[in-house]
């Protein structure tokens, strides 16, 4: 049996995502892009990526076990791996395996 609610939910997520992606092009097409928008387009990617990192770690609790230790250790592993080898594949797999081992075996 097909779960109608799930189908609709996927459709909604898809429609909203598409609408967001098209909106700036609909609003700013045909005229000169304002200088302020161009500036935001340059600096926002750096800030947004920092925000997304924080977003992924939002559920960490520092007042109860395991005090975010698996997350922080694994993030450190990703950073160090990436600085060392600068290979996206190695960094992502290394960090994820590190995290999986920590949450499954240690904590």
């Amino acid at each position: 049996m097909i779960d109608i609610h799930s189908v609709l939910l996927v459709a909604v997520v898809s429609a909203v995502t598409i609408a967001i992606r098209f909106l700036p092009f609909l609003v700013f097409s045909g005229r000169e892009t304002p200088a302020f928008i161009t500036y935001l387009g340059k600096v926002l990617p750096y800030a947004v990526m920092g925000m997304l990192c924080v977003y992924c770690l939002r559920e960490i609790s520092f007042v109860s076990a395991p005090f975010g230790i698996p997350e922080l250790v694994s993030v450190a592993a990703v950073v160090l791996l990436h600085l060392w080898r600068r290979n996206t594949l190695i960094s992502i797999i290394g960090g994820t395996v590190c995290y999986m081992l920590l949450v499954q075996l240690v904590f």
Partner: protein, 230 residues
């Protein structure tokens, strides 16, 4: 044409590795929550937004309402507004390719098409944008389908595999950090998010964080303009 394809493949190799791993993580996650390969395929084809697809698994299994699904999508994907804003000029005149280019503008595709190639002719650039966008989505769909197939036979616990997403963002963050001397925007992004997380809590901090980031970056521009004027 052949050279264009070669260049697009070479440039997308980092995305290939990230998307195969993340896509597989998504497919496995969906499979373990009882959503099989067709669900995975539909999401990767029609939503095509990595972090949102991972979140959608929570929405599906948690029985979220359609309204809250729409609001969550709006919040999580709002950053795509910023990507669009900075691609308005570059995607001008791309004709028939344009709708797909806009649809397929993910974080990673954006990171490849948002700079460079100034020496190329307009036609070559447009073809490059299209190939990069298309290849990236092919990697993503393939990765998630492989994950959906593996999810049924995987012999070990997959608890914690969703950390792949965190790892990807941290990797891109480090990569961006090394690519520029101006670290203030990145620092503002992290600090503003942490402040809003503490003030508003894990469920509601994303929108305030985006507002605060925009305000601080605007202030930064004003301050720097004044410094320059002195």
């Amino acid at each position: 044409m052949k050279n264009d394809i070669k260049k697009a493949i070479r440039d997308t190799i980092p995305v290939l590795s990230g998307y195969i791993v993340l896509g597989m993580g998504f497919g496995i996650l969906m499979q373990t929550k009882g959503y099989g390969i067709w669900w995975t395929l539909a999401m990767s084809a029609f939503v095509y937004a990595g972090s949102m697809q991972y979140l959608a698994v929570d929405l599906l299994t948690g029985g979220a309402s359609l309204i809250s699904a729409a609001i969550t999508t709006l919040m999580v994907n709002a950053r795509h507004l910023f990507y669009g804003i900075s691609m308005v000029d570059r995607y001008k005149g791309t004709g028939k390719k344009k709708p797909y280019l806009i649809f397929a503008l993910t974080d990673e595709t954006y990171s490849l098409v948002c700079s460079g190639n100034e020496d190329k002719s307009e036609e070559e650039r447009h073809r490059y944008y299209f190939l990069v966008s298309l290849f990236d989505q092919i990697y993503w769909v393939c990765g998630s389908v492989i994950g959906a197939l593996l999810g049924q036979v995987i012999p070990f616990s997959t608890e914690g595999i969703d950390f792949a997403l965190t790892a990807l963002f941290v990797t891109v963050f480090v990569e961006q950090w090394k690519s520029t001397k101006d670290h203030l925007p990145a620092i503002i992004g992290v600090m503003a998010s942490v402040i809003c997380l503490v003030v508003f809590g894990a469920g509601d901090f994303l929108i305030p964080a985006m507002v605060l980031i925009t305000v601080l970056l605007s202030a930064l521009k004003l301050v720097r303009r004044e410094e320059k004027a002195k």
